[in-house]
């Protein structure tokens, strides 16, 4: 099969029977519903760009399994060049969509499972890697969109999975038979899952022997019997019927997240890639998390490019573009954006092969990049608000702009420089408002793991003892046992 186009991807979603709830009702027509369509459009861009001569160099790759050209989103990294191209691809697509296009999560899950199943087999004598390669061939051949399903609801965070009052707070195996396994539980914050074809389930934390039934990784169609998605609210979801007030009407904000409930879901053995091997749950989590944290200087770099552009435009429209403090703040926004991008490029360039042959990022630099995102995006957005002015928070609605009675007042009193139509100024203000606040900001904090998760990995890999030794040598302190 050839790579899908955006419209082929969208049409393929119509053939699924995905059970999605939003606002207390089951959604009948997901694809054409304005609550979901912007996220679907954003994902469709990843398909169209594989066919665009200008972008295909980043969005496609050559499969190491078949030698065929495939979507990079289904590729296993074979070099540091592949890792760098991934980051460049993410920035390039984010510059077009101005938002999350969702496919990186499954991309990272594929890469994490490829190398970890190999290592599991080498250490434990299992046979998951060959099974996973068969699944990978299927994904590459069909060019399906795969969601990465890691985060469990977690309940009482002080307790291990097996210690929870409700066992379903972590996805676990409730039955094994000759045909496969049965799962119960839920996955939270599932980016792009309602418009994916399949999900790759992985454990969310390191496990102990007592947690063995929670150490499970497998692929499940998003419309499999027993799978229910409850779509998350976003800060602008009551604005979906207009063109201006939601800011980015075509592609939306963030990725469209859902809580995915697994109610006794059957998974055949050929789609099971970990089942009880608790010793490798932590390795899989770290592998996936580092790949995913690698992304953020790419995609958030691209999103920030759009925010910077919008902020520079609003400065033009407000007549303040030449003010030195405005230019200084724009410079700072560029500096922060390129610093994030530099982190993603660095952790990719410093990547290394795993025993499977697949390449892995430098995990310390990847975690540092994502931790910077939890700060820098807030600062970029703060500077954007500073330059744009308070009207981004107090603007009347699109309906008021169109209203025969009050529209002329909106037109008259929200004009900036005389040469720019008021509607242009309002459109850019709404883009800034939606890209820099609410759900979009929280996503920068917690997407790919909360800051403390990055700090734990940074401290683990920071080699503090070596740093102490360096200081001791210079201070003339003799080495002691």
């Amino acid at each position: 099969m050839v790579m899908k186009t955006g419209s082929e991807y969208i049409e393929s979603l119509r053939r699924l029977k995905t059970k999605v709830y939003a606002f207390g009702e089951q959604v009948a027509d997901l694809v054409d519903n304005p609550l979901f369509r912007p996220h679907i459009n954003a994902a469709a861009v990843t398909y169209d760009m594989a066919h665009d001569p200008v972008t295909e160099d980043l969005v496609t790759a050559v499969s190491h399994l078949t030698g065929k050209r495939i979507s990079r989103f289904t590729h296993i990294h074979q070099s540091t060049e592949d890792l760098v191209k991934k980051v460049k691809m993410l920035r390039m697509i984010a510059r077009r969509t101005g938002t999350c296009f969702q496919r990186c999560v499954g991309f990272d899950a594929l890469n994490a499972l490829y190398s970890v199943t190999y290592e599991m087999d080498q250490n434990l004598g299992t046979n998951y890697h060959e099974r996973f390669k068969e699944y990978l061939l299927y994904v590459q051949d069909t060019d399906i969109m795969v969601a990465g399903s890691m985060t469990d609801p977690k309940g009482d965070r002080s307790l291990r999975p097996s210690q929870q009052a409700d066992p379903d707070l972590y996805v676990h195996v409730v039955e094994k038979n000759e045909k496969g396994i049965v799962l119960r539980g839920a996955k939270a914050h599932q980016t792009g899952i309602v418009n994916s074809h399949e999900m790759l389930i992985m454990p969310t934390t390191a496990m102990t022997a007592e947690d063995a039934r929670y150490a499970v990784a497998c692929a499940v169609p998003v419309d499999a019997p027993g799978v229910i998605h409850i779509f998350g609210r976003q800060t602008n979801d009551s604005r979906k019927n207009g063109q201006i007030d939601q800011g980015n009407a075509r592609y939306g904000i963030v990725g469209g997240e859902a809580l995915t409930v697994l109610e006794n879901v059957f998974v055949p053995w050929e789609r099971v890639f970990m089942c009880g091997e608790w010793q490798f749950a932590g390795t899989l989590v770290e592998r996936f998390a580092s790949y995913h944290r690698q992304n953020y200087g790419g995609c958030k770099g691209g999103v920030s490019d759009v925010i910077i552009g919008a902020t520079a435009l609003i400065a033009d429209y407000n007549g303040v573009a030449k003010a030195s403090h405005v230019r200084d703040k724009l410079t700072e926004m560029i500096h922060l954006t390129e610093t994030l991008y530099a982190g993603s490029i660095a952790c990719s360039a410093e990547g290394r092969p795993t025993p499977s042959g697949a390449y892995f990022v430098d995990p310390l630099l990847a975690n540092i990049t994502k931790l910077n995102v939890t700060r820098f995006i807030y600062e970029i957005c703060r500077l954007s608000h500073d330059i744009a002015g308070g009207f981004i928070a107090t603007l009347p609605s699109e309906q008021d702009l169109r209203c025969p009675e009050v529209g002329p007042y909106v037109e008259k009193y929200f004009r900036g420089v005389a040469s720019v139509p008021t509607e242009d100024r309002i459109r850019i203000a709404r883009l800034i408002e939606n890209m820099t606040g609410g759900t979009a900001l929280a996503e920068s904090m917690h997407g790919a793991g909360s800051p403390q998760a990055q700090r734990v990995m940074i401290m683990r890999q920071g080699n503090l003892e070596q740093k102490k030794k360096l200081a001791s040598i210079l201070a003339g302190i003799p080495e002691r046992d």
Partner: protein, 109 residues
């Protein structure tokens, strides 16, 4: 100028953070060389491979191609190769000369 059409297979870098608009550069080149026909690099046959990177990092993948090629990065002709006596030599030189007018400097050869 040319006796026949010169077909160029174009390979773009991906344009992640472009300093130049690659397709606009190619259109400009075509407007100066009406005999130049442009096709994607993965088309079956062309006379010359044109690699266009939109910033100085020049990261476009180089497709396997044994014939003449011109490589442009950030609006600058970086490198070219024309085998002596190649049927496309004159056309390629014309294209390159026109390209230099578009892109400014001549560094390789």
């Amino acid at each position: 100028m040319a006796e026949r059409k010169l077909t160029a297979g174009v390979k773009y870098c991906g344009h992640c953070n472009p300093q130049e608009d690659g397709p606009a550069l190619v259109r400009k080149l075509q407007s100066r060389l009406p005999e130049l026909k442009v096709v994607p690099w993965n088309d079956r046959t062309y006379d010359v491979l044109l690699v266009v990177s939109a910033c100085p990092s020049d990261c476009a993948t180089r497709p396997p191609f044994n014939g003449p090629r011109i490589e442009i990065a950030a609006g600058e002709v970086r490198e070219w190769y024309v085998p002596a006596g190649h049927p496309a030599e004159n056309l390629l030189e014309a294209c390159l000369d026109e390209g230099l007018k578009v892109f400014g400097t001549r560094k390789g050869g």
